[in-house]
């Protein structure tokens, strides 16, 4: 880090501590704000991605990426978090890449509002498939993500992914279910991603079946909770109305 001028070291360190998901208000009339990586960082990290299958999520991958992008080896000092930057870039770029599947899914399952559940499952599957090339190194990435200093960013990326999937699938609910949907999808995705690291079947068949079972469980549970809630609501309203019809002033 001796090559970085001292007055810039603090800003760069604090930049990484800023919470990731300040995504908020998505504007359609203004350009998007910059992502979590600067132009230089993006070029190094995107050049590092093809080296992951051979060298894993390590500092070596980062320096190979720097070399490919045309920077000196020491430019890996731009990444105080080291290998986590590669993990982070992989997570971020895979999430951004989900958009390109949307037109095909809209063609298959219908316009916005129709087939949301199936689109969510399809998008989750596409995101899992995005890990195909690196899945044999993914347990390494999970270990890096679980380090205490990296946990906030990792969780933030997971919740951003769940939000992105629901949004691209055309979900427009903005009540409490906004939270429950994203929480359940985060859990399903994390479990499936972990399962995929041990999957040796042809074309990830086992992972696909695992994913479907998780979604089915979720729907069944949601159905039960919904039914109970409906029954309780109906009984309460009916009770109040009966009392009103008897003349009780409530």
């Amino acid at each position: 880090s001796s090559l970085i001028p001292p007055q810039h070291r603090n800003t760069m360190a604090s930049k990484r501590l800023l919470p990731l998901s300040r995504r908020a208000y998505h504007s359609y009339t203004h350009p998007q704000p910059p992502g979590p990586f600067t132009a230089v960082e993006s070029s190094i990290l995107s050049a590092a991605i093809p080296h992951i299958p051979t060298h894993g999520f390590t500092h070596t991958t980062l320096s190979l990426g720097a070399k490919d992008a045309g920077y000196v080896d020491a430019s890996t000092n731009l990444f105080p978090k080291g290998a986590f930057s590669v993990v982070h870039y992989h997570l971020w770029s895979q999430r951004e890449a989900l958009k390109k599947h949307v037109p095909r899914l809209v063609g298959e399952f219908g316009e916005a509002g129709k087939g949301t559940g199936r689109k969510v499952m399809a998008l989750t599957w596409e995101r899992l498939r995005g890990n195909e090339k690196v899945v044999h190194r993914w347990q390494e990435a999970l270990a890096i993500m679980a380090q205490p200093s990296n946990i906030p960013t990792s969780i933030s990326e997971l919740s951003s992914l769940a939000d992105e999937i629901w949004f691209q699938a055309g979900d427009t609910s903005v009540d409490t279910s906004w939270y429950t949907k994203r929480a359940t999808l985060s859990t399903i995705y994390a479990a499936s991603e972990l399962y995929m690291t041990t999957d040796r079947s042809e074309g990830w068949r086992d992972t696909s079946a695992f994913l479907e079972r998780r979604f089915e469980d979720n729907m069944r549970l949601g159905g039960v909770v919904g039914s109970v809630g409906q029954w309780v609501g109906f009984t309460a309203r009916a009770g109040v109305n009966v009392l009103r019809s008897k003349g009780v002033r409530i």
């Binding site: 800003t11 208000y25 910059p34 920077y71 409490t176």
Partner: protein
């Protein structure tokens, strides 16, 4: 204010690659601005929220990358934070208003059937406002307030409680809520107008979304103040613990607004 090196068009393919690395701050993208705590005192921050390096980033759109003098700039973090919390609070407020009217209607109408059309009219308008904000939140990917179930319960309880007390108390509740909401929307319109003014001064494109939002909030504010007038016409001032009731409800509303902005 910008350093000479930042005026270079961003063209990483040139030999400036090495120089990029040696002086990264010159080519760094605009960093996130610190969010403002109270949006009502953030006027200065929002209108003068130009980042210190007004250097366009390549990821902010093709126009921005190729033409540094483009009119279309990304919204700053402070602006986005304000819009997010404002719309979130508005949705929570309309949810509460809808539930208050829904809970107030049966007891009121049972003893004062002539108030049915008025209650229906006010409820319909609030339901329309809620639908507006619901669609805005979904469109702009804003998280609804986490207090949603709590506000649902609290608003229903408030509506039912004041309606049980008396018709005047129910009207006083409406008066209190609409006063706070009217002021709140007015404040928001003020901040938004100042934001737009700042953007126009700097020659930035304001965009249809913001202008339509200002018009919508103005219209909604006017309808809320109309409800306030209806409530006062219907003897809201005659409620027996008027000062106490309206004081408590106004304080509760302001507290709910503050919480919904954060949570």
């Amino acid at each position: 204010m910008a350093r000479p090196c930042c005026r270079k068009p961003l063209n990483l393919a040139t030999q400036s690659l090495l120089y990029d690395f040696l002086a990264p701050s010159c080519f760094k993208t605009a960093r996130l601005n610190r969010p403002t705590r109270q949006f009502s005192t953030s006027l200065r921050c929002l209108s003068s929220s130009e980042p210190p390096h007004p250097h366009p980033t390549p990821r902010a759109g093709h126009e921005a990358a190729t033409d540094p003098a483009t009119r279309s700039k990304p919204l700053t973090q402070a602006q986005r934070d304000f819009l997010t919390s404002a719309l979130r609070v508005n949705q929570a407020g309309e949810l509460a208003a809808t539930l208050i009217y829904k809970a107030q209607t049966p007891p009121i109408v049972a003893s004062h059937p002539h108030l049915r059309p008025l209650m229906k009219h006010m409820y319909d308008q609030e339901a329309g406002h809620l639908a507006t904000f619901n669609s805005l939140l979904a469109k702009h990917r804003i998280r609804p307030t986490a207090m949603y179930p709590i506000w649902t319960f609290a608003a229903s309880a408030l509506g039912w409680g004041t309606a049980i007390m008396s018709r005047e108390a129910a009207m006083a509740c409406t008066e209190a809520v609409e006063t706070v909401i009217g002021t709140h929307y007015n404040q928001q319109v003020g901040v938004l107008l100042e934001m737009v003014e700042g953007m126009e001064e700097r020659g930035e494109e304001v965009g249809e979304d913001l202008k339509v939002l200002i018009e919508d909030i103005r219209r909604i504010r006017d309808e809320e103040l109309e409800h306030l007038d209806h409530a006062v016409e219907n003897d809201a001032q005659k409620a027996v613990p008027h000062e106490l009731l309206t004081g408590v409800i106004r304080a509760g509303c302001r507290g709910a607004i503050w919480v919904s902005e954060k949570v």
